[in-house]
Each structure stands twice: as structure tokens, then as C-alpha cells.
């Protein structure tokens, strides 16, 4: 049965993953995602046949995912920015081997060791280069504890269906904050009946999980087939939220934690008589290009708000082919912008338009 509880984002996500049938978890400590690893270390040993393992590094953890996924299990790891950098090698091999896994990034500020406060500076990494090579991964951007819970289930189902990695791009704020959530029913371990899994076959029936294709013609074909799958996902599974767009002159856009702030600012702007609207991508890949293109037919300008120096803003400009100006407001380094700051930006743009 589903259940209503008050929970921290990280812990709610971990519980939801278990209820989605993920009984194998491999992780490594890093702030601000430690609650996920700690939660898994408490819960999984009590489930028969489940496995929690604290790996020696993020590199080892992601490769344990590769092995566990190859053997047919639903499997997850979580980390934060510096740790995700170490996982990119494995994510590339997993994508190249057509394996389903879920990776959580509770983003903190970078570059380098950066800081431990919430950030959105890994947008480029998640959506453009989550590993070397021609590849895509599903990227989900929750903006509430409830979405952390709901998205982890969707991420597993989509990763399985399309045999590819999924990233949940959260941040330290969502991971640490407490909200009331409805937890889904426990689905139990998913049957290990993937016909491609390397879980024991001989001779002609044997399975091979591999990303190496020495013949360029063969590799080109495999990559093109994979991109055909990506195109299907773009057509069927792009998700976004919109608010007050009908008559909007200024479209404010943001994802994740900064979207909560941006939406509040849009409401305040409306109260002041400014025609502001709002778009929030729920999937960052695939990116809701059409929603932006449509809004650009009527809006006079856009404002992209991020906890970074501006990364998603590139995609917004591309989506509308720079038809109208796209302004940017960002706070890097681990600072969450306040609604008043965003409202002031909206007012500045509105003033300039008169």
C-alpha cells in the first residue's frame, strides 16, 4: 500500500528505489548524498538476497553496477559531483553495453572539490558529456521530495525498457530537505528474466555484454540503431511543467531546486501585473524543446534561472533558435537564489520592454 510520511529527500529516494525493486546498491560516501548510502546500508541487509556494498571508490561502484546489471539485477548508485566525474568512464561503458542502471547525482558546487552546498553546475556533464563517445542518458530533474520518489521508479522502468543509464539530477537542497511524501507500494524484487543477461548460459545460448566493435561499419550501425531508440524517447517521453504561459510576455524557466524559487517569483510578478509565465523541464534529456519553441511564438523574452553560471540557458537559446532574447540569472558556488532576486530580474526585463 502507498504510505504518506515526512522524509528527507535523500532517504525518501532510497526507500522509493527499494520499493521499485532495486535490491542491489553500490556506493561511496560523499556529502551531500550520504543519507542515501546510509539508508541503503540499513535497509538492504534485512532483505533476503539483497546487497549493499560500500565500494573502494566511485569508479569501483559504477563498475559493480555494470556487472550487477549485466547479471540482470535492478541496480543503483548515488554520489555527488566530484564522485560523478569518476563514474563517467563506467557510464560510457554501460551506455555502450546497452545496460540499464540508475545513477543519482545530488549536485554540489564545483569545479574541483568546490563546496558542499547545493548547486546545478553539472547540467552540462549530465546532458552533454556523461562519458566519452556518442551517447545519451536519461536525465530526470526532480524539484520536490515527492518527485525524487516518483522519478526513481520511472527512471528504473525507462532504463530497463530502453536498456540505457538514467541519471537523477538532484541537488543538495532537495537531498537534505524534509517534505511530506506519498511512498509507492513495494513492488518487490523484479524477476531476473532479461533474456540478454549474463547469468549462466552455455554454447549457442550464451550472452555477451560488450562495448567493443573493432569494425567501424559495425560500430556505426550499432550507434545509429541506438540513436533511433533515443529519437523514440525524445518523441514519447519528454516531460515538462508550464504555468501562466497563455499571455506571457516574459517566460521564466528553471529546473530542480531553482525552479521552486523561479515559480514563486513568477507568481509575485503576476501579482504586480507583469505578464510572466513559467516552463520547468522535468526531463533534461530529452529536453522539452517544443514547449520553448511554442512559447517563443508569443513571448517577448525569456529568463533562465540556474544555480550556476549558465548551462541550461544554452539549450533554451537553441530550442527557440534565438528568436527572442534569453536573459540569464544565476548564483554559482552553492548559493540558492531568493525569489526577490529573481523578481527583481523579471521587473528589470519588463521595464526594458516598455
Amino acid at each position: 500500500m502507498s504510505q504518506r510520511v515526512l522524509m528527507k529527500g535523500n532517504e525518501a529516494l532510497a526507500e522509493a528505489a527499494i520499493r521499485a525493486g532495486c535490491h542491489h546498491f553500490f556506493g561511496y560516501p560523499i556529502t551531500p548524498q550520504n543519507e542515501i548510502v546510509a539508508y541503503m546500508s540499513k535497509r538492504l541487509p534485512k532483505i533476503e538476497g539483497a546487497c549493499f556494498l560500500q565500494a573502494e571508490s566511485e569508479i569501483a561502484a559504477i563498475n559493480m553496477l555494470l556487472g550487477a546489471s549485466a547479471a540482470g539485477a535492478r541496480v543503483m548508485t548515488s554520489s555527488s559531483s566530484p564522485g560523478i566525474s569518476l563514474k563517467t568512464e563506467g557510464i560510457s561503458y554501460i551506455a555502450g553495453s546497452d545496460l540499464p542502471v540508475v545513477v543519482v547525482n545530488t549536485q554540489r558546487a564545483g569545479p574541483g572539490l568546490g563546496g558542499i552546498q547545493p548547486s546545478q553546475a553539472d547540467y552540462w556533464q549530465a546532458t552533454k558529456a556523461p562519458g566519452h563517445g556518442d551517447l545519451r542518458v536519461l536525465v530526470f530533474a526532480p524539484c520536490s521530495v515527492q518527485e525524487m520518489v516518483d522519478m526513481v521508479t520511472t527512471a528504473f522502468d525507462m532504463a530497463d525498457k530502453y536498456r540505457m543509464p538514467a541519471i537523477i539530477l538532484a541537488d543538495g537542497m532537495l537531498g537534505q530537505m524534509m517534505e511530506a511524501v506519498t511512498l509507492p507500494e513495494d513492488r518487490g524484487r523484479q524477476a531476473n528474466n532479461k533474456e540478454w543477461a549474463t547469468n549462466g548460459h552455455a554454447g549457442e545460448n550464451r550472452n555477451i555484454i560488450n562495448s567493443l566493435y573493432i569494425n567501424p561499419d559495425e560500430l556505426e550501425k550499432i550507434i545509429r540503431d541506438r540513436f533511433a531508440r533515443y529519437a523514440e524517447i525524445e518523441a514519447k517521453h519528454t516531460q515538462h511543467e508550464e504555468y501562466a504561459l497563455e499571455d506571457a510576455d516574459i517566460v521564466v524557466t528553471a529546473y530542480g531546486a531553482s525552479a521552486r524559487v523561479a515559480k514563486a517569483a513568477v507568481r509575485d510578478a503576476r501579482a504586480k501585473g507583469i505578464k510572466a509565465g513559467f516552463i520547468r523541464p522535468i526531463t533534461l534529456w530529452p529536453f522539452p524543446k517544443e514547449a520553448y519553441a511554442k512559447a517563443a511564438n508569443t513571448a517577448r523574452s525569456f529568463l533562465c534561472v540556474e544555480m550556476s553560471m549558465g548551462q541550461m540557458v544554452d539549450d533554451v537559446r537553441l530550442a527557440i533558435s534565438s528568436k527572442v532574447p534569453v536573459h540569464f540569472y544565476g548564483r554559482p558556488g552553492g548559493i540558492v537564489p531568493a525569489p526577490e532576486e529573481v523578481l527583481a530580474e523579471i521587473e528589470k526585463i519588463a521595464g526594458g520592454m516598455n
Partner: protein, 251 residues
């Protein structure tokens, strides 16, 4: 008619990609025979490395996973934790196991991960054209040690079995060689023993095999076998370094 010699069931009919005279081929056969001997072909999952054995997934006739360079023990850990009743082995060269994958090797061993590591030590990076490996001997000339391995700068070669045998998680560690028929027989026994220990769930097992790389050593296959005996064996003594079943310690 009696069959006196045939291909093990656990090897495919695919011609291998190793250079003439390379002992990787012998080692493949020994591993396949050991799998057949335990009647585990349909319950074995192998992990191929990055190195000359990268195509091992084409040669072993069982489920196979190809791992990133050095990460085979982590990949094998993931497989084994999901399917603990399957026989899981990695097949790795010295660059893969003792350089880029050192952390994965040591921690899989320290956890007593119930897998078997087949470690092919040929004192060089074969696949990339003969560069210095962590196991390259002092003064040995390679593409990246053109004046011979300088111990002052590059350090001394690592003796993996000796190092790993200090870890409690290691159930069995033996170094063997495939330079002669008697040694090949001993190597075959060692691999069987490691697989049996894994089947009994007793912990991490590693068989290190001294192997040749005629191509990058710049020697004929026969000269290579002599070079292995004269140069590798004194530095890498053969023997059992760890046996939790009470075998002798340290060779």
C-alpha cells in the same frame, strides 16, 4: 574410436587472435578445461579485460562481460553479488590488474570476494605495443623504458601474489608458469583448485601465470620460453603463497 584430444566444450571454435607462440592461448585452454572439469559451462560468467585478451568473450564458450581497463574485479563483484551460485572469473593482464586496476584488485581480494582471478603476467603491455608494465623487470628494455627499467625512477616490479597473500580475504594464491609441459600440468591443477575453492564459497582466489610475449619481447617463441625461465622465474618464484585449506605458505 576413442577421442584422444578435443577442444574443451568451454572454448568456442573461433580461431584466437593471439600472436604465434603467445602463451595466452594455452592459458585459455587450461581455464576452459577447468570449467568443463567441474561441469560448470552453463553456470560460468567470465570477465574479459582490456589488453590482448580483450576478445576473450569470443573464445570462452560461456556468458562473458567485457570490462573497462582494470575494472574486471569490480565488474565480477557486481555479477557475483547478483548470482552467487555462478562461477565468476576475471582474465587479466599485468597492466590491467597491477597498474590501472590496482585498487579494484586489492579491494576485491580484501573483501574476500568469492571470485577467481586469472592473472597473466608477461612483464609487458602487449596490446598497446610493448610498453613498461608494473611487472617489467629491472633493466628490461621496453618501448617506454628504452634504456632498461630504471629502478630509481620507475621503482621495482610488483609481486602480486606475495602482496595479496597478506590479506585475510584471500583464500588461495598461487604462481605458476606455462613454459613447459610439467609446469602447464601444475597450472591446470592450480586453476581447478581455485575454481573448487570458489565453488565452496571460501573467498578470493588468484592464479598468476608467467606468460610470454614473443612479439614485444622481440624474441622467437622458443627464445621467449628460455627468457621467461632465466629472467622471470628468479624474480617471480613459483609456488603457493596462500591456501586457507592448510597448504604450505610462501612457496
Amino acid at each position: 574410436m576413442t577421442t584422444v584430444f578435443e577442444r574443451p566444450k568451454s572454448l568456442t571454435a573461433t580461431p584466437n587472435t593471439y600472436c604465434p607462440g603467445c602463451t595466452h592461448g594455452i592459458i585459455h585452454r587450461l581455464v576452459a578445461q577447468a570449467i568443463d572439469g567441474l561441469d560448470m559451462q552453463a553456470k560460468t560468467v567470465g570477465v574479459a579485460p582490456v589488453g590482448c585478451a580483450v576478445f576473450a568473450y569470443n573464445f570462452f564458450n560461456c556468458d562473458m562481460v567485457q570490462a573497462p581497463h582494470g575494472r574486471a574485479p569490480a565488474v565480477a563483484t557486481g555479477i557475483k553479488r547478483v548470482t552467487p551460485d555462478n562461477l565468476v572469473f576475471t582474465y587479466q593482464g599485468d597492466g590491467d590488474l597491477a597498474a590501472i586496476g590496482t585498487a579494484e584488485t586489492i579491494h576485491a581480494a580484501a573483501r574476500g570476494e568469492n571470485i577467481t582471478v586469472i592473472f597473466v603476467n608477461n612483464a609487458i603491455y602487449g596490446m598497446t605495443g610493448g610498453q613498461m608494465a608494473p611487472t617489467t623487470l629491472a633493466n628490461q628494455v621496453t618501448q617506454t623504458s628504452p634504456f632498461g627499467r630504471d629502478i630509481k625512477s620507475a621503482g621495482s616490479p610488483i609481486r602480486i601474489c606475495e602482496m595479496l597473500s597478506t590479506l585475510d580475504g584471500v583464500a588461495y594464491a598461487e604462481r605458476v608458469s606455462v613454459d613447459s609441459v610439467p609446469n602447464i600440468r601444475k597450472a591446470a591443477k592450480a586453476i581447478c583448485k581455485a575454481f573448487e575453492i570458489q565453488k565452496a564459497g571460501k573467498g578470493f582466489t588468484i592464479i598468476e601465470l608467467l606468460s610470454t610475449c614473443p612479439t614485444n619481447w622481440g624474441l622467437s617463441p622458443v627464445e621467449s620460453l628460455d627468457w621467461l625461465r632465466e629472467n622471470m622465474m628468479p624474480y617471480y618464484p613459483l609456488g603457493v603463497f596462500k591456501d586457507i585449506d592448510g597448504g604450505k605458505d610462501n612457496g
